[in-house]
Subunit: 489 residues, 4 copies
């Protein structure tokens, strides 16, 4: 039965019986675990907002497979406009959650596999695309959340997969039969994995002929046997375990959060109908570059939305402190906007410059998508620095909410933590805790570190930028204006 709304989504996770570890212990009830719930709330927003009439235009789209209305997170981009709407939808979700809502990796993986399976089939007369379409249709019909799993642990990064002492440092095929394949390895920092329904696995780098066994892509349900999940810690994570209103205040972001999980594949069986690439190593490059491209575009939406919340928070704390009219404060807020909208512009531009692939779906302009992400590895850090400047030192010296609510010192803190007269101290504390969360706490994991490494670390983008730019054309331009007739080499 299809997931129609937030409640359906929560229900769908209730029976999610998986082997998940957190703080050394197995977790049984993931949706009611306070450590995990914020990330589920964020993901749930992708279902919740889709129900609202005002956002229908962004979230609901006609499937090119079934002709039915589906959630855009399961959609295959049919036009530039689809690419643009994706960016706008992600910005909106960033605005509403101020966190990572985890569902775009799946969308990006689906769109990547769509074109890559098509092209593999063209060359090798395989039937991956047909298999994939079946899987895709299932995802669209059920409105499932899909985890796109790419990053391997990598071990010693100076070595290729085959050179590693332990061959499992990159996920690979260990056995093949008429029913399917058996794979082993792990995928690191999987965002929103335990609250997804399916995992769509892809190789993490361009592979050579002798690395064929690593050239594998497939989908398995999250509840598949042999999958072991270990939850990642985040800065200030245990505030989620602090209860009641005090926990709510000190968390900063009251309801939402992200999630990173390591998934270990212990000889997991995948039936052939779920295998979408099997040793066609030549296509690993396309697969990696396209997924990276789509995902680098994503950051041009989601992080901008989070940036919007930070700009609002900067305005609020300035107001509460009584300095909103100071010229240097206003100027700093302009700078935050400028940086944020520059990222957005990159998100829009790489979408608009997108092109149709042979399979029919639309791919972002890879150069501009890499430029987009490269800026994302910098500007959120500066935005974060500026808001720390505006917030003032109290952000990191505030007593706990338990002190604030205590009979012993509560009233004293109400007195001394007040800013402008018209605003209660608690509001000021809340916005400061939010800024703390976003710049130092678990929100910073998503807004900063994920901006750095998600969809590939900065150097990965630089390599792509170099590769995707036609330098010979530019050299010719320079020769022309400088009047050089070169002795060509």
């Amino acid at each position: 039965m299809s997931i129609k709304n937030k409640q359906d989504y929560l229900n769908s996770l209730k029976n999610q019986d998986i082997e998940l570890y957190l703080f050394g212990e197995k977790v049984n009830d993931i949706i009611n675990h306070p450590y995990i719930r914020p990330s589920i709330n964020s993901a749930a927003m992708t279902y919740e907002l889709a129900e609202k009439e005002e956002y229908r235009n962004l979230f609901i789209v006609e499937s090119h497979l079934s002709g039915e209305n589906i959630n855009r997170f399961t959609h295959i981009h049919q036009s530039k406009e689809d690419l643009i709407k994706k960016v706008k939808m992600l910005r909106l979700l960033g605005q509403k959650t101020a966190s990572c809502f985890q569902r775009c990796v799946g969308m990006d993986a689906l769109n990547t596999l769509y074109s890559v399976t098509f092209e593999i089939d063209q060359e090798y007369r395989t039937d991956y695309h047909k298999r994939f379409l079946k899987f895709l249709d299932y995802v669209q019909q059920k409105n499932l959340m899909v985890d796109g799993a790419m990053t391997d642990p990598k071990g010693d990064r100076s070595l290729r997969p085959c050179e590693q002492k332990d061959p499992d440092m990159y996920l690979h095929i260990v056995k093949e039969s008429s029913e399917g394949i058996i794979v082993r390895g792990a995928k690191a920092h999987q965002t929103g994995c335990v609250n997804s329904h399916e995992i769509l696995v892809m190789p993490t780098l361009s592979l050579n002929e002798d690395e064929k066994d690593y050239a594998v892509s497939f989908a398995v349900p999250v509840i598949t046997r042999g999958l072991i999940y270990i939850y990642g810690r985040q800065s200030s994570d245990t505030r989620r375990l602090e209860e009641g209103i005090c926990g709510e205040i000190d968390r900063g972001n009251t309801y939402f959060g992200g999630q990173e999980v390591m998934v270990i594949f212990e000889d997991v069986f995948v039936p052939w109908e779920r295998v979408f690439m099997c040793r066609e190593y030549k296509y690993s490059t396309e697969l990696v570059e396209r997924f990276a491209g789509y995902h680098r575009q994503s950051y041009g939406g989601c992080k901008v939305g989070v940036g919007d919340v930070l700009i609002g928070a900067a305005c609020l704390i300035a107001e509460y402190n009584g300095v909103e009219k100071a010229s240097h404060i206003k100027d700093k807020i302009v700078e935050m906007i400028n940086l944020n909208e520059t990222i957005y512009s990159c998100g829009i531009a790489c979408s608009f410059e997108g092109t149709r692939t042979p399979s029919g779906n639309y791919l972002v302009d890879l150069l501009l998508a890499n430029v987009c992400k490269q800026n994302v590895t910098r500007f959120p850090y500066e935005i974060s620095r500026i808001i720390q400047d505006i917030a003032g030192g109290k952000m990191v010296t505030l007593p706990s909410a338990r002190d604030f609510k205590s009979p012993a010192v509560g009233s004293k803190l109400e007195k001394y933590l007040k800013g402008i007269e018209s605003v209660p101290a608690e509001n000021r504390i809340r916005i400061l805790r939010f800024i703390e969360n976003m710049t130092l706490g678990s929100g910073a994991v998503s807004y900063l570190t994920e901006s750095m490494h998600g969809a590939g670390s900065p150097q990965a983008q630089r390599i792509m930028i170099s590769r995707l730019t036609d330098l010979n054309y530019r050299k010719d331009l320079a020769r022309q204006v400088a009047g050089i007739r070169d002795v060509k080499k």
Copy 2:
């Protein structure tokens, strides 16, 4: 007769009898004056490339007035796609000239007046729009080059126009009759003015009721009596006067250049049919903001094109020096590309997010256009710094081309100025002189200082960014995630 190509354009300027001063003397033959010719060559490119089949798609467009094919520089944007194509056309022209080709101010002014005259008429039942359409049709039919004239001298910038000791520091109406108006004042740093055919004048700031006489917009032919032109100097300008191949080499940019002129209006008469705003001061804000918006978008195209040439020049000099494979050099080139494409992304994004005005034409997204220009006030400076790094010190210590070509020391310089074996010293000198021109010479006027102040200085954009951003919406976002129920003020 319509201007069809470069030669027509040159011919059209032959009889341009204007009162132009340069180095204290009156210039008679502007098109053959070596100081002025490079700027004419740049402007001519807007005619020349339009003839080429490969660029037709960018340059030739159907007039919504006449239905005939016209040059895009005279076109009124009918769609987002028109806005996008404008940016791409400007990038191409930047690539081909590595300079300012001067014709976009007119295009931006035409599009501004198109919507503003329409709206003034709506409110005041005037007939400015009809007058303007007639002028527009004339410009389109003849394929004229129009100078958009906005910036007044401003005198003491802490004072409003009426507060200035000399009321002429801002151009204003001094007399009005049944035939038309008489205006006095000046317009500073007019780009490509003496090689235009028409000057389209606009006020330079938002005006109040007591500043009505300054709220004036009109068009006059460049050859109008009472107009006095004084040519501006640029860094390394007199190299244009150095003759032959030596001059060509030392200029750096062999054929192209920019032009800035001060135009003084000494009681110039304007007939009513050419008056497009006359004291409707309330619309001065719209007029200024829209023109600024269009023109800030323009920089997201033209400067990117110039940036492309610089990236090519950086690759060439690295190659000639033998260091093209050094990792730090490659990384610096990536950084140049990243900065350049970020500006381009802003140019694309503010175009794509453009909207239809009541008059029917399309206006860029003003927030993103301001963000675009704000980045242009920074990134070209960093690109320029990087290429100076890559070029090496020789860029500023090279002997003159006359030394290089002299019998006395020419062969010695050929020996000692050589880089890699396969490239003659002259090529290396040429590319270094080009980089010198672009970062320190007259090219830098256009690539750097104009990027700073053209279409408004940085602070002007910051004020607009602040004004155009909905901060209350963002405050609400922050309140929601932080759980704040604010006591509204």
Copy 3:
């Protein structure tokens, strides 16, 4: 009895009976409280290293009062060399603790009061300096740790102290008698306060005549009645409460940390002999500027030391990941060093350019000290961004140490979290947790936010830089080279 070593220091705190709240509850045993102990360990380093022969040169100095050897933290700077050695001592302590060791505020306050009390006496024939010398001698003899308390809560920052609705938003005199004064108010974010022995209070801004009651400086023992302490929370703070080796690993910085406390003065009595300024409001400016100057210099030492540890951590994780030889990694480490040593250069320069005050002690060059601190509000953020880049995404997705040490998944994590072969996964986890701590956790409070706001927020330095620079001299220089003979105004 004088405190001779770390153990003496710990003993001295054992009987520290104060009213301290943490998480809404009163804390009884501060030195054994795991939340507080890391900050005590850091402060203890100022005693511990002083015992070591190799550091004696930095830590032990002859008192100009008694002629005896004292700890530099209680010393009055007698020369430029003393100022320089202070910077070097702080850098060393930063290297050894990677945190704030909290004792420099006291040293900076002592040096400030030394000269200011002298100058007040000169003008008003008071005897503050004599009182202060007695207090100073006591501190030197006992080798006490002194908290310098400056920052008031400030309430609505657009209002002066007297304009606040609640007059207590700035600490002030509420009563005066022959025995002494009674004060009320609070001091916010007091660094290392509950493990100090004395609190030395100063006003937080330049005061006017009608704000006389706020112009007050004095010292009271930490254990004084009427003082209420409320401990501030920090990012990831509760990891300190996680026990055993798992807690040790996940804390990142195994033993050390900072501390910020709000201190409320509930009608606290101060005997005259401990009052060092009482309504001489004119000297509030000198007092604030000098303390700020000394403390802005301090950051040119301590944060550089922390930066050194981060540079080392960057090298380690690069090595463990197998990428230490990648050119982009090496370049990023160079950038970290460059930024770090630039701060250090500012610390050295403002010390060397220090001058003798009328009282005989040495004051840093205030302009350069403000420049130093201004850079500290930026460069550590960039260093932090770079190390996050080098560290890779695992820094924020690592499972807990309890998972790593668990029978269930420990061995699997050992397998998949390994980097290069020769280094156990635990070492890699430890260095990643350290980097997490320094850039997102409680270490970031000290390394980033404190760098931003400690010793005054960025704008405070900018105001001082503007005020301390002789712009007229520079204008004259410009006039001379440009050949301007100005009509002087």
Copy 4:
């Protein structure tokens, strides 16, 4: 006879009969050549200021050789204080000339050779130091200006000296006899060479055994036979040839300028007494690193002085424009100061941290000197960008002074180029021309490009910074705080 003052210096150059080419022609009278004279005026300042009582403390110092008072430019640093005073002297000269005064290369070369010759002798029992002392004494007695010549043309930079097709791309010994040696090659971009008295040649890179012939250092008079000089062009250079007050105005910097020359050594004979290194290739590293160190320190003085003039110019133009009180303008000036004083701090710090060499003179701290220069490759560019922002667009669109002074349009320009009422238009033009000169013209060659490449390009400093930092010490610090007991490799 010793040079005592500016006039003596000018006289000393009158008979300087050298083979100098400029614009393809031989120059006969260098001191009266308007193209060259500005650079001579700048260098003359090193004599002129030394006469003034107020600067005596910086300029006049006791020779450790003769005990007599000498000009510091010929002095061997005997203490840290000497190193500091050097920086202050250079800052002052930068303030007075706003250009490169060219004499520090010689001072830096003298101090380098002083210690290196001493150390070569220690190892090889040669007598270079004695020879050098004789030369040094001569320079001190006569108060000569010495050109330090290091940079070779280098040809293909991917090849070592011996690998170049043309062995002369690096200067080398071609013959040796009992009288001396004969050398061939060239030195590129020699600053202040034709108005020096002596050229002190050094190798430009670390050399290996098979490159012995390139390991040569010596001094020859500028008038030596076989030396050919070719003058380098600079941006806007020919404005120096424009005459009278118009030339003075349009030059921007009225009297001063820099100079870069290529010197070709056509089989030049050097007598043994003037040879200071001959094939002791092992010491080429020390020689290069020390010279670079001293010279990178120099930039921490001279460019700061130039920065001071630019700060003054920014204040003046803001005042003339009527915007001096705008908060964004004031903030930008603060930023200029902050950047400028940061460089100065690096200059001071690397001096103060200097150490005594075995020969007895003082060497700067090489790490900090490299950090100093690294910042110089960035901050002046940002200062230049900011002042272009403050100056406004008129800086690059101003008509020529000949227009301004012309009967035809002079009065019109006086009217329209005026800023605030109290200041004549000419003053505003002058300061704008000065800013143009410093950011785009010949002043920019010195303030920007020379800041980039002088004393080594940015990458050269980065390599040194990496080499000079003890990363193992820093790794140990990180291990300690993170609790890592490493398996040492």
